[in-house]
Symmetry: C2
Subunit: 377 residues, 2 copies
């Protein structure tokens, strides 16, 4: 499933397009979010220490994960806030960014259980960390079962903490922002469900609608969650009018869609040395992406059958992976996907040009956006 691809590092300040001041401002914001997360988790560390030192591993797991993020969602939230007139050093936007990052960590923890992914951000995933603890401590009964159970609980805790952080925000714009936060959570969970449902039900559904189904999934599990809602959240917090939020969406939704399509392409054709993912993993996992949908829709019948029967097989050989890739190329699906990315990006940047925001905000959003759609890892 993996609705949460590795995000490009948006914290570097070397991009010439961003003015020095907006890059500095962005760095200051990221540092403030990190500080807020640190002090919040330290507070929870003290609470858990009073219950039992043995529970501290829950907070430590969350801390490791939330420290490793690239803050893309927090940054979109920040520029949405600034674009709607929010001031650079407000506590509200720092808390909102921290809440988004905690929510993302919670999603990753449960996502990795669902996908059976043992690595995350270069380290062990949370369930793997707990199963390793089980092995090292020579515990009884089953290590994998313990790992999954502990990670379910850690994800639940992280989800609660995300919301606890969000509830600290006090602001005039917070009713609308709360609404965005609520819709975001419901939509991403529904989108994730559609994603796992498509993995198991896709093969028996009409191949003509495979692309439409895959597109609906990336819209809810990724584009709205990772791009549209964070930007809107910042805007709403700063008291933006509905018209402003609509113009934010015109930029952020196609951007988020392009971002996910790029991620899908990299998942199959990316350089494993750059993406950190072994080649063929996405195919063995059985992810039914838009790229896959286009392949199924346009491949010759016997190739489509081969595709449908082999996608999701854990034991695919390298030769089989290669044949699946060849079908994706020969059917024209890869080319079509690249065209879609170009089209969505053009749509997003055209909308950005029309946004009623300052030049500084526009440039910052453009820098973020360009990184998202043209990345190679």
């Amino acid at each position: 499933m993996n609705q949460t691809p590795a995000l490009p590092d948006a914290s570097t300040t070397s991009d010439p397009k961003a003015s020095a001041s907006s890059a500095d401002e962005q760095d200051a914001y990221i540092a403030a979010v990190a500080l807020k997360l640190d002090s919040f988790l330290a507070e929870k560390h003290r609470l858990l220490a009073r219950i039992s030192p043995e529970t501290l591993v829950l907070i430590d797991s969350i801390k490791t994960l939330v420290t490793g993020g690239k803050r893309m969602r927090a940054l979109l939230c920040y520029w949405g806030w600034r674009g709607a007139g929010g001031s650079p050093d407000s506590t509200a936007i720092i808390e909102a960014g921290a809440a988004l990052e905690l929510f993302q960590s919670a999603a990753l923890i449960h996502d990795d259980i669902i996908d059976r992914s043992d690595t995350r951000r270069g380290g062990p995933s949370v369930h793997k960390r707990f199963s390793t603890l089980h092995t090292e401590q020579k515990f009884s009964l089953d290590e994998e079962r313990f790992g999954h159970a502990a990670a379910i609980l850690t994800g639940d805790l992280c989800l609660s903490l995300s919301e606890e952080m969000f509830s600290r925000i006090e602001s005039g714009g917070s009713h609308r922002a709360r609404e965005v936060f609520n819709i975001m959570r419901t939509e991403v969970m529904a989108g994730q469900y559609l994603d796992i449902l498509e993995e198991v039900s896709g093969p028996s559904k009409p191949h003509e609608t495979a692309v439409a189904r895959a597109f609906s999934i990336i819209r809810y599990k990724s584009a709205k969650y990772s791009s549209e809602h964070p930007l809107a959240l910042g805007g709403a917090l700063a008291g933006a009018e509905e018209a402003m939020l609509t113009s934010y969406s015109a930029f952020a939704l196609p951007l988020g869609e392009a971002f996910q399509l790029r991620d899908d392409v990299l998942g199959v054709f990316g350089d494993p040395a750059k993406t950190g993912k072994p080649a063929g993993d996405d195919l063995r996992e059985g992810k039914r992406t838009v790229l896959v949908g286009l392949t199924i829709d346009s491949a010759m019948t016997h190739e489509r059958d081969f595709f449908d029967q082999n996608l999701g097989r854990q034991d695919l050989t390298e030769a089989e992976v290669e044949r699946l890739c060849t079908i994706m190329v020969d059917s024209g699906a890869l080319e079509r996907t690249e065209e879609m990315i170009a089209q969505l990006s053009a749509e997003a940047f055209a909308a950005l040009a029309e946004l009623p925001v300052s030049t500084e905000v526009r440039e910052a959003l453009e820098t973020l956006g360009q990184r998202v759609v043209s990345r190679t890892s």
Copy 2:
């Protein structure tokens, strides 16, 4: 693990101890909470229908579960509110009760995955419901894996909805109430972690501390969560002083502990026809309860060894279950547990007698409390 035993039906009005008026009031409150949950879930149903009709099963699963509850936590919250001067027909206390019930449903969904329990409240558990859907629809890949993944997402959605409901409360007392709600969530998740940790690490820890460890677990995963915090939440919402909340705890904490000890006894010695649980299930699951701790601490060495080696074995025969039960009785552990229940109950009801609340509230709490500690199912 099962931190969430079936609660006694507190909605019946036949108990002579509760005055007719408080029983009517309680019924009206329960009906109002049910109505609130219905309209809230109908709203979410509409949101999910717009995403895809295929996601409606998420809301339907939550609705089935949250409809089946006995509302014990909501009722404690209600009488905590009334005891601190809250009025009977306030929206705030209805929303708080609905939020507690949704939180409990979320906990049950994930708990059943962790415990691999296929039944809940007389029907299939949520993960079982999804794996059955998989089978019936002849989906591809693994049905159990799909069931677990879908139930993780449903639990996450339910957890978010619980909090969304809580965030609707607008009240002068809500800052302190929010604090209780936050601590409750963190503590129960930490307590659940200690519970699964004890299952795997208990056998290698000193048997002298088994009782203390088990007692700490029931305090956090059950007594505070199911009894102390709901009562405090209602009080805090109504603006109760700290002294009042402390006196609430003096009643609710020992009551919650007695409640969980009673549950543990019923889990092993209860009549399966009444409890709805097959005999021996708790022993096969490996729950390391206070009853088990007392057994391990007081049994003869060879019996303790038999106990430690067999507790948690999925394939225990009936004869082995019977031997484990006999060791519990012969070691005096069952008797000691009953003494503890009696002592904790006495402590709780002595504190109740001192509570600065109206006679009506005291009687309502006494009725609830008596049902909790003397139930047989």
